[in-house]
């Protein structure tokens, strides 16, 4: 269909992060995965023996688990073509001047140093397999907040690291968590001491530059009692004709009374397989909020989850997905209520266009003993044309009789009456449509920091340009 091709071409052109820089690296593993590569990674990172064994165990589990039969179609993902480890530079910069010039230029183009100045408490930047920059504002460091690359976390804070690492997402959790356990590289290690409130967000930015790269960042966040943190991750990659692969593991420990918000704006190029496991363990009276924006990638399978382990814990997942032609966003979330008086809310908004497919897949589970749990789930899907597809697969498993559980989902298109009304007010057809879409995602975008809300709206506008005519 010529119309669709136009739309697809337009979207690719509009992907403003699709630029690529010449490959430069100090080490690149061979294609494919082997025990040797896993050992090589561990050796290059000068890891303790327990971590080397942990990686090898991860590899073993990965190889023993089948590719999941549910979810998105992963048959196009060829692991033999993937480079599992690429080290772009020696060491990590504490100022941007310490970052190799060409890599710094990339992040300049992405606007990261500028954002750091203006609106962030700290920034981490990952290029290929390694963090190339990490810095946190001095006053936070003085209060004991740790914001390091995951590798430095292991080196500099071995006890804290070992106490929590892989406790929330063990390697056998799923095939790709096992893979990450074997080949993880890069990501952040964050510790917020009791009572410390980090009011301005920390951000990590992930960039994949070379072709056929596998990026396996691993992030461990520990928010100690009564602390507060907002962490933002963003991701982009150049557009290649071959596929790349991103499989992160993000573990968060939200201790008693702490409050953590984790925001993802995933805008990978449309050749990325994005299979991410992110999970928070939420203790008594603590609160965890995920905001998960999936706009890019070829295939995403990602279900942020909250394990509400302590009395009065609460969890929130706001998920927004945009699936254009050739994209499948299989996203959603999991809420596991394992303690009394826990509450959770999931709001999911998805938009499908062209042959794009967006899927909500979610679980709400109330375990035995989790008295007076309450959970509410709302999923709304907007279909922009007749080739678009949307699916909703919620799982609700309740083992207590005093739980209050609700789930609602709707599927709709942009209504003719809505358009008519707006056009009567003088808006052009495409402006009117964009406004309806913006209104549709507003319940979620309003929870974003202003810059990100603006960015999200801009992305939606760009995507919408191709949708009329």
């Amino acid at each position: 269909m010529p119309k669709d091709q136009n739309v697809a071409a337009l979207n690719l052109d509009d992907y403003k992060y699709g630029f690529k820089d010449p490959d430069s690296y100090v080490f690149k593993s061979e294609k494919g995965l082997s025990r040797q590569i896993v050992e090589q990674i561990s050796e290059m990172k000068e890891e303790p023996d327990w971590m080397r064994k942990f990686r090898l165990k991860g590899l073993e589990i990965y190889e023993s688990k089948p590719v999941p039969k549910w979810g998105a179609d992963l048959s196009g993902l060829n692991m033999d073509e993937i480079y599992f480890y690429v080290k772009p530079s020696e060491g990590e910069g504490r100022t941007w001047d310490e970052v190799p010039e060409d890599i710094k230029r990339t992040f300049d183009r992405l606007g990261i140093p500028e954002a750091e100045q203006k609106s962030l408490s700290g920034v981490g930047a990952q290029y290929e397999s390694e963090m190339v920059y990490h810095r946190i504002k001095d006053d936070l460091a003085a209060q004991g907040v740790i914001f390091d690359s995951i590798e430095d976390g292991l080196k500099k804070h071995p006890d804290l690291f070992k106490r929590y690492f892989a406790t929330v997402i063990p390697p056998h959790d799923n095939k790709y968590a096992a893979l990450n356990s074997a080949v993880w590289s890069g990501g952040s290690f964050i510790y917020v001491p009791p009572g410390v409130e980090v009011d301005i967000p920390l951000q990590a930015y992930f960039r994949v530059n070379s072709e056929n790269l596998g990026q396996f960042e691993r992030t461990l966040i520990i928010a100690d009692e009564g602390s507060k943190l907002h962490y933002i991750e963003g991701c982009t990659a150049p557009t290649y004709s071959t596929d790349s692969f991103h499989s992160g593991v993000i573990e968060i420990i939200v201790n008693r009374g702490a409050n953590v918000r984790y925001t993802t704006i995933q805008n990978w190029s449309n050749n990325m397989y994005n299979l991410v496991t992110q999970r928070a363990r939420v203790e008594e009276d603590a609160r965890m909020a995920w905001l998960d924006g999936n706009l890019g990638s070829k295939i995403t399978m990602k279900y942020p989850s909250c394990y509400l382990m302590g009395r009065g814990a609460s969890g929130e997942i706001m998920s927004i997905a945009y699936a254009g032609p050739g994209q499948h966003q299989d996203a959603g979330g999991k809420m596991v209520h394992a303690a009394p008086h826990t509450t959770s809310e999931i709001i999911s908004k998805s938009i499908s266009k062209g042959a794009g497919r967006s899927t909500y897949r979610g679980l709400v589970q109330v375990q035995k003993g989790a008295h007076n749990a309450s959970s509410n789930v709302e999923c709304d899907a907007l279909l922009l044309d007749e080739n678009a597809r949307t699916d909703t697969y919620p799982y609700i498993e309740i083992d207590e009789n005093d739980a209050s559980i609700g789930h609602e989902a709707t599927v709709s298109k942009i209504g003719d009456e809505q358009l008519f009304y707006l056009m009567q007010r003088g808006l052009a057809d495409d402006e009117a449509r964009t406004m309806v879409v913006r209104g549709f995602i507003e319940p979620i975008s309003k929870h974003l920091p202003l810059e990100y809300a603006v960015e999200l709206n801009r992305l939606v506008e760009l995507e919408m340009e191709g949708s009329v005519g």
Partner: protein, 461 residues
């Protein structure tokens, strides 16, 4: 009147000969033994053989299969089940000769235009309003349909609504079908009073495969009510009831179908109900699940053409350790069709329910209106409910929604009723009635509405 009955049966409506006891292995010999015992023609034997082939090629679902995640078929010890009733009951030619126990359970005063009694899947009695016969309505048991209406069966029996490929158990049903009923309503014939099919099951350690085939011709109208019951006393020895209902609604037909399942607790009940709806057909199905130890139902509506509409209703009330698993499917293949599903369940004691519903809108099915609601009321601390309302939408001009809730009784409502002088027990019961009333109010048959209210009352205790 039951006690005064002469129990020596005088005649048989269907003689299926001496059946061998086929216990243990399900094999091709089982199929041929059934064909021989029932003296079936070659075309029927071929049908069974085909279903058998499908059965053999289809793997037995396990809890690793998404659709069977919550119900474990491996708990059925097929070795322990006879694959047909070794000594089937004999038919009677006078309603007074229907066995006393069944007479008591039957409600013969309910207004009907035709009714029948099947005992352990064997037809023992049937009656039809002569006027309907004159209008060309056919209401016969399966054996008679095979003998006298082969053209109907060849065209419709497991060919469009439920084929053996539907699943492992449907295939087994097709191979071993043990009896059943066929109703054919010619074009334009409207049957005002319901057709009642009564099923009595008191057998143990046996697998039964009853079939229901309803063919509603263009612009016809009919209500078909199936009631399934067992003796009140406890029975042991797992029995499998593997039933299939096929409803074919031709253009503009109006079909209402209800099945009220109150088997004994020794029964593992599987029921597939599938509606094949042509243009402008109006369908209502109602599934009432009260009995059996484990009950799994697959209820599907296949909306083939424009203007078809399907209302899908369900009620389940579990107690003790009952396990109910409902799978529903609203398949929109054509534009401008509608479906509206409402399943409500209440769970007592340690009972458990699963609701899994799917609305699937195929590409091109524009103008679809599809709704799905599942509500669960948990009445005890140890009861458990799962709800999985799914949507798969491939057309954009649709109005689709689903909703699911799981919750307990509202303390404020209970308090209000108690302040009006009701005991806590009565207040709770009243709330459960109110909860089910939303579904019952949509049941068009007055006596069925009343009956269900009584049955629910009894089960609430």
């Amino acid at each position: 009147m039951g006690d005064s009955l002469d129990m020596s049966e005088t005649a048989t409506t269907t003689d299926i000969g001496t059946a061998p006891t086929v216990r243990g292995e399900i094999s091709p010999e089982t199929v041929s033994a059934i064909v021989t015992a029932r003296n079936e023609p070659d075309w029927m034997a071929a049908r069974r053989q085909h279903a058998w082939d499908v059965y053999r090629e289809t793997p037995m679902p396990t809890t690793k299969d998404e659709e069977w995640r919550y119900t474990d078929l491996s708990k059925i010890d097929w070795q322990e089940l006879a694959m047909m009733d070794p000594s089937p009951p004999v038919g009677v030619d006078d309603r007074g000769h229907i066995p006393a126990e069944i007479q008591v359970a039957l409600h013969l005063d309910d207004p009907s235009s035709a009714w029948s009694v099947d005992h352990n899947s064997t037809a023992i009695y049937q009656q039809i309003d002569e006027e309907l016969t004159r209008q060309g309505v056919v209401f016969v048991d399966l054996a008679e349909a095979i003998a006298n209406h082969p053209e109907l069966l060849q065209k419709y029996f497991m060919t469009s609504a439920v084929t053996p490929e539907f699943g492992k158990l449907a295939a087994l049903h097709g191979a071993l079908v043990s009896g059943g009923r066929v109703l054919y309503v010619p074009a334009g014939v409207e049957i005002e009073l319901p057709v009642n099919a009564f099923h009595w099951l008191d057998i143990e350690r046996t697998a039964l495969f009853p079939h229901t085939l309803v063919i509603a011709g263009p612009q016809s109208k009919v209500t078909y009510v199936e009631e399934c019951a067992s003796p009140a006393h406890a029975q042991e020895g797992l029995t499998m009831n593997c039933g299939v209902t096929e409803i074919i609604a031709e253009e503009g037909a109006n079909v209402r179908y209800a099945i009220v399942q109150q088997w004994g607790r020794h029964v593992f009940h599987y029921q597939a109900v599938r509606v094949f709806a042509h243009k402008d057909a109006q369908i209502q199905t109602l599934l009432v699940t009260l009995g059996a130890g484990v009950a799994r139902s697959d209820v599907e509506t296949d909306l083939q053409a424009e203007g078809a509409h399907s209302e899908m209703l369900g009620i389940y009330l579990g107690d003790s350790e009952q396990h109910f698993d409902h799978y529903t499917y609203q398949l929109h293949q054509a534009p401008h069709a509608g479906s509206d599903l409402l399943y409500k369940g209440a769970l007592k004691d340690r009972s458990r329910s699963v609701f899994r519903g799917m609305i699937r809108v195929m590409p091109g099915a524009q103008g679809t209106d599809a709704y799905q609601t599942n509500r669960n009321l948990i009445l005890s601390e140890d009861a458990h409910a799962d709800s999985l309302p799914n949507l798969e939408i491939e057309a954009d001009d649709v109005r689709c929604s689903h909703g699911a809730t799981i919750g307990q009784q509202d303390e404020q409502q209970i308090f209000y009723l108690m302040s009006r002088g009701l005991s806590r027990d009565d207040a709770e019961k009243l709330i459960v009635y109110g909860f089910f009333e939303e579904v019952l109010a949509r049941v068009p048959v007055d006596w069925l509405h009343k009956r269900l209210t009584r049955v629910i009352e009894r089960k609430l205790g």
